[in-house]
Amino acid sequence: MDWGLILSNLVHDTIVFSTALIFASLGGLYSERSGVVNIALEGMMIIGAFTGAVMTYAFQDSLGAWAPWVGFIAAGIAGSIFALPHAVASVTFKADQTVSGVALNFLAAGLSIYLTKIIFDGAGQTTTLSTVFNKFSIPGLSEIPYIGHAIFEAYPTSYLAFIAVFVTWYVVFKTPFGLRLRSVGEHPRAADTVGINVKRMRYTAVMISGMLAALGGATISLTTTSNFSHNTVSGQGFIAIAALIFGKWHPAGAMGAALFFGVAQAIKSLVQIFGLTNYIPTEFIFMLPYVLTILVMAGLVGRSSAPAALGKPYDTGSR
């Protein structure tokens, strides 16, 4: 047995499965750093996966290889629009942010399947897409034995995810926008007194959040599954929230946590290769990412580093 190859495959698969989680947890990061709890990442991912699949389906005959890109971009736009009700409810109307997020999750699940049935003549899922993203090998680097396959042979969306981590870190910690974003999440009144528009910042953050989560959702339907159905996302939005918390609301931390949960999913396929499925029911193996999420959340992290104003609506008139 070639352990090098197995490890190489494991890393390769980890990156594939982590991509969606990285996008979505970065999305959560913008929203939560601004003080708005975003449990609706799941729903935003569903909308992204759905929009990505449908738009790619619509353009795959006319645009060919460019169609997934159209789907991907459309998913981002749809996600930011879909996030708007969450901002309206939790920022303007000061509703409970968890309730608003849960409502959005239900809406996404129902709406996407309803529209799928209308578009695809009553089918519960989209037809399999003929064109999706293909893995892209970086010339030269991908030739390196083991490492090349592990790291330099990935979907373009995976490369984008890692770029997004860096960009998010830069934006959040180096730019005036980021400083203001964090101030609004820590002490909105202080931000208000220096002339920062708290509501506008939070709206912006929630919409960026929707966009990134939807991009994450689209990476699933446009890479691994090649279609959209009710279980395309299946809880990855919640795992992304776990990754955000596990990563202590830091882009690099969230990425690390997303990779950690990605390993759990990658092991799934590895186990199948080994034929262990003859001894362990597959259900148990498929449970792995979720069980890990629970264990990590229960055992390892306190919430001490959460933004101080997370979940608290900002009331300008409060005396």
Binding site: H187, A190, G195, I196
Partner: protein, 513 residues
Amino acid sequence: MNSVKKVVEMRGITKRFPGIIANDSITLSVGKGEIHALLGENGAGKSTLMNILFGLYQPDEGEILINEKVVEITTPRIANELGIGMVHQHFMLVETFTVTENIVLGNEPKNGLKIDIQSAEKAVEKLSNQYGLKVDPRAKIQDISVGMQQRVEILKTLYRGADILIFDEPTAVLTPQEIHELIEIMHNLVKEGKTIILITHKLKEIMAVCDAVTIIRRGKVIDSVLVKDTNPDDLAAKMVGREVNFRVDKSEARPKETILAVEKLTAMGNRGVNALNNLSLEVRAGEILGIAGVDGNGQSELIEVLTGLRKATNGRVLLNGKEITNQSPRNISESGLSHIPEDRHKRGLVLDFTMSENMVLETYFHPTFCKNGFLDYGAIDKHAAKLIEEFDVRTPSIYTPARALSGGNQQKAIIAREVDKNPDLLIAAQPTRGLDVGAIEFIHRRLIDQRDQGKAVLLLSLELDEVINVSDRIAVIYEGVIVGIVDAKSTTEQELGLMMSGGKVMQGGGNDE
């Protein structure tokens, strides 16, 4: 005063909140280079007026002139642009940010897309040198002292080019030494051409730094006078509306046996470091022991350990010789300890319960109020009616939710409940915070009554005057230890202030009166 250019004029400002008129046709005029005090009791409407000037609230009526031009200040940003800056009572600082980040927030110097943090730090250093405001530009807010945080607040306004600075109760959180430094800073600011409006209810400060004072009572301007033409008694009478007696009359204490003994108590604070370090003290029957100290030196943790809300990691607490260390709050309460908590909204009352229910929060399970597992509301209501009558709690009825009462009446209700338990030890933590002079007099009277009835009283207060006037002995707490115990009659504010900031005092010193 009339020859000086008016930088701020507020004319006929009226602001209504549901149920009350916070500002009733207020007129205020401040000359350039002046330190102008806004004097009034809590809830008189001072902060509302200044929040209007700073753009946080909009007035319902009236107009504002800045530098003799009519302006509309709808947001703090516009106030900033007009050169108005505010040093808030509760600092508007982001704890996890550095000093520099807090100062430049909203007006960040840029280098491409990035914040130019180097030039920001230089600008902060330059400003702090110019005005003698010592700060470390790279320190995080959560790691610096309250005094330095306040200097950051001042720098924030100066960085934005403020010429008119509003200080909202700036001395509430400072030690006497820090207050002294602040007064120095204010003089420096005026020398540099700034104008200062000082919101306060402390007469001493007004006499020490201000040029003029406007007195507000119940939303109305009572008078506006020059400080050199007035005196503290006159100001107090105008602020309260009647003659005020600042002295607390009390007889000599006659302490008896030890009620509370705290031995080498150690406990962890919220930040994971020890908030109490081997702290020992004793309170005897028939005396009031006051604890003086700057906020955050372990006072809250001490009270929490004594009342069972926080676990001690080491040491013992004895009440009447019986060990109560780390017992449940109910056990401790049943052993004869009553507690007037620091935060009456969080720990004193359940705001949405009726007054009647609030009166039995600690005793509802006693056979008097609880029959066969059911609450006896007849008995509970009778009990509440009796207490409310006895302690003169002004409430529409015993079924009114606690939330609807004024702060003073809420506090009276808590004291009624705690005193009625007939405790051996009464702990009063900041019992008069946010209350007006009338309520303060009442509460001080009650504490002394308890003492005279032979109870032990432990008083914790951040107001040095209160500690000195009410206590018999004063223990000074600094970084989780008692650094000294002095006699309240012979000590001075200077002596206490020195101990509060960690300086040791030689025994027998401080008899300079």
